[in-house]
Amino acid sequence: MSSTQAALKKPPASKPQKMRSLQRGETLAGLLFVSPMLIGVSVLVLLPIIATVVLGFADWNFVQGWDGIRWIGLQNYEHLLSDSMFLRSLRNNLIFLLTVPVYMLISMVLAILIDRYVYLKGYFKVAYFMPYISNIVAVAVVWQVLFQPSYGPINEMLKALGISDPPKWIADPNYALISIMMISVWISIGFNLIIYIAGLQAIPKDLYEAADIDGANAWVKFRRITLPLLSPTSFFLLVTGIISTFKVFDIIAVMTQGGPIGSTTMMVWYLYDTAFVNLKVGYASSIGVVLFAFVMLITLIQWIAQKKWVNY
């Protein structure tokens, strides 16, 4: 921008009427700019979420057409409370939460090591990030074969190590969920690692220098500087991690379809199964509302907690 324009920076004095029409022009321009996004979000997100809440009160199979809708009040929700498959999904979702602290801890350790204590940083970032960037369907297929119970490579290795009766992994109801959780940890580390490295790089170096002068050892520096200053990052990862466990779907759909005998069913899988396999739209919508409520609850807790506990 040239200096003449800088000199003209102040808008010319004008009558109030002209100002008003200028402001009207701004409003119009603003609305035009945001309208594609606004219309898209309204039609594809806002309208559907309202519909989900409304349909949660209905008993409807959409093969029957619009006339088939029966309004049944809260019956869907009452039914959910005694639906053993739904309760099982909910329980599995809660068990799945355990993956979050596990991969956060591993990622934090790896991030600190990569950021400070090793050579070949670039290589490590790419290596640990590969599972995250890869197509989850392809990854799931690969693990399915690796976990193959009778002659898959993992069990062959375990047998070679002297374990005569290795678990059947995703084919065994007792091990299926934990197998999926392990794969989920393996996938999630890359993302968490990258965020932790970004968090570490934002910590001012002079804090460590000051600690060095005071003779602090590595553990004290970690405990008193790194950990507290990473707390916003950890908190962010905890919240997004918890929310993402409520959305787990792809890996279940590809690897186990909720089985064997319901051992890996989770909320979104059950919603999908109810809506698109059993075509119970109303019931599926009530599951959708429960899912929405969980995510909203976590977000609200985040808002409140962020103000109280996180060090900035």
Binding site: A6, Y123, A127, M130
Partner: protein
């Protein structure tokens, strides 16, 4: 001098340890690649043949690319859907981001809050109504429908808005005094200034769309429209016990993204860190 060396010793040691750990992350990919080159009966030979004894690479990949589930078609579908979604999404998001940050109008602030609030809504909670809507307006089982689903990104709008807020208001004001309308300012000043951010977001959006499995599963039905992840899953369930073929499919599905990632590594990692820390 003494101290220098004693610092480097542990660093080297840790690097070796980390290399060993990183094998855990790479080995499944290596196994996948090598298995995709094998003949079927060698897949589960133990001890594991890390380098195939008998190569069947050409036949395997030919079957995957031009067989009953022709991957070339799904590649084309995926490229088309991902590219167009990325283009539209970047355009819509940067328009909105500019509108929400650089144009002062009263409704702007609370409209932005509404848009931001929808970020809380999990995609799966609205699948059923979206499905019903699509069935009724004829967008079901079409690429257009799939593209529209991915085109209105709150995250993208939020990310780009952060960047537009960093563009000094003086640039906008002086251009306005020169008689430029907002659209011209947006095209000739706004976009060029936030180009790196748009590029980063574009790469992320492309990767997310390319990897998306759930939306194609719900909104597509006809084989010939399938995108890669959905086709990969159907192919796997069809090819049952042919694990070498499944691995060839998996390699084909992973490879292009890996390429994008390795080329755009800096942007991707930066974008994730940024979108993460701020979003």
């Amino acid at each position: 001098m003494q101290k220098r060396i004693s610092i480097h010793g542990p660093k080297l040691g840790l690097t070796v340890v980390m290399l060993a750990v990183s094998i855990l992350f790479l080995l499944p990919f290596f196994w996948m690649l090598m298995t995709s080159f094998k003949i079927e009966k060698d897949v589960f030979v133990y001890p594991i043949e890390w380098i195939p004894r008998q190569w069947n690479a050409i036949a395997n990949y030919k079957e995957v690319w031009f067989g009953q589930y022709p991957f070339y078609l799904y590649y084309w579908n995926s490229i088309k859907v991902s590219l167009i979604t990325t283009l539209i999404s970047c355009f819509v998001s940067s328009l909105a981001a500019y509108g929400f940050s650089k144009i002062r109008f009263a409704a702007g602030q609370w409209l932005f809050l509404i848009v931001l609030a929808t970020y809380m809504i999990p995609g799966q909670a609205i699948l059923v109504p979206q499905f019903i809507l699509y069935r009724n307006i004829g967008l079901f089982d079409s690429h257009l429908g799939l593209i529209l689903i991915g085109s209105f990104s709150v995250l993208g709008t939020f990310m780009l808005r952060q960047f537009f807020m960093g563009v000094h208001q003086d640039f906008i004001e002086s251009a306005k005094i020169d008689g430029a309308g907002h659209f011209r300012i947006f095209c000739s000043i706004g976009l060029p200034l936030v180009k790196p951010a748009v590029a980063t977001y574009a790469i992320l959006r492309f990767i997310w769309t390319w990897n998306d499995y759930q939306n194609p599963l719900i909104f597509l039905r006809t084989d010939k429209w399938f995108t890669l992840p959905l086709a990969m899953q159907k192919f796997t369930s069809m090819s049952g016990e042919f694990y070498s073929l499944q691995m060839a499919g998996a390699v084909s599905a992973i490879f292009p993204l890996l390429l994008i990632f390795i080329i755009g590594q800096k942007s991707v990692i930066q974008g994730i860190a940024l979108g993460g820390v701020k979003g």
